[in-house]
Symmetry: C2
Subunit: 201 residues, 2 copies
Amino acid sequence: MPAKAPIELWFEFASTYSYLGLEAATKLDIPVRYRPFLLGPLFAAQGYTDSPFNLYPRKGRYMLRDMERLCLDAGLPWQKPSRFPRNGLLAARIAIGHETAPWLTAFCSQVYRANFGYDREISDASVLSEILTELGVDAQAAIERAHSPEVKHALKAQTSRADELGMFGAPTWLVGDELFWGADRMPQAVALWKRNAEVGA
Amino acid sequence: MPAKAPIELWFEFASTYSYLGLEAATKLDIPVRYRPFLLGPLFAAQGYTDSPFNLYPRKGRYMLRDMERLCLDAGLPWQKPSRFPRNGLLAARIAIGHETAPWLTAFCSQVYRANFGYDREISDASVLSEILTELGVDAQAAIERAHSPEVKHALKAQTSRADELGMFGAPTWLVGDELFWGADRMPQAVALWKRNAEVGA
């Protein structure tokens, strides 16, 4: 791989820990490529019929408390979601349809805050439309683009790629062909990226 | 709880990440109480028929690579175990039967290194006996004590307590009634312990 390829953050809008990963990634001083994908098909392939946090309620309860503490530490808004997981399909299509837009990371951040900071329904187009409008984006055009066959295909292809890479959860950091699962593996992923960059320099 | 109660590390000898947790705990400059327990009954209560790393092979493959990287970073020996998980019952009984012994943490460390650093069979009494002897401990007496009704009961009670506390995996740090799951949550657990100690001081 090219030594200076960006570090990649693979994330799912339904995923609580992806919220932490996305927020942390936006503060990095190295290039990041943002890769929205869908966990649903990967979970199904592993035999999960729902989020593991719902299948294993004890783990789910712990996750909510862990998120509450970690968001407090990170200065991020947190509210226990009244519905979990929410469907992040439309948000993911908007993100992948605008992956080079200057507002991409702000949009992702606001979607996570809506879902996990303010308990809003991110599968609702009106919620996403409001976020886009507040960012000064033409919401109708962005959502139309999200519904295009090209964008639908791109998200399917990205999800298949996540599967081929061996991913099983989100967020996942990708550096070369090394996976680092979890927001809390960012330091290890960044350290590897920097070692690779030095070798390539 | 008393503000100066030690931080607690709950661990299982069969668990890879407990190896990292134990090694990290021994380097802390605050008091630690070591709590061996058995994950098997807790897994069974959640509906797992085997280690989640075996039930979800993709997660299992990732865990092995993650451990390899983390052990390298931490300067710890690592070798992919030819059997996973190994039965940690006898080792846990020896540990809980000697929880105030000066050799407790050295014993735990050597059991983890045997299992995950050198691929040795820790359910084999002769392996544990060798470790004890190298530590200058009367191995026969220690193993006899491990088989006593009192020690068997203590390990059952400790495992039940883990269940009552809502644990679902290992290692788990306990500070007051707050659980922190995973070797990588040690900083958060220590920070809370220090905040509690300040308030109590």
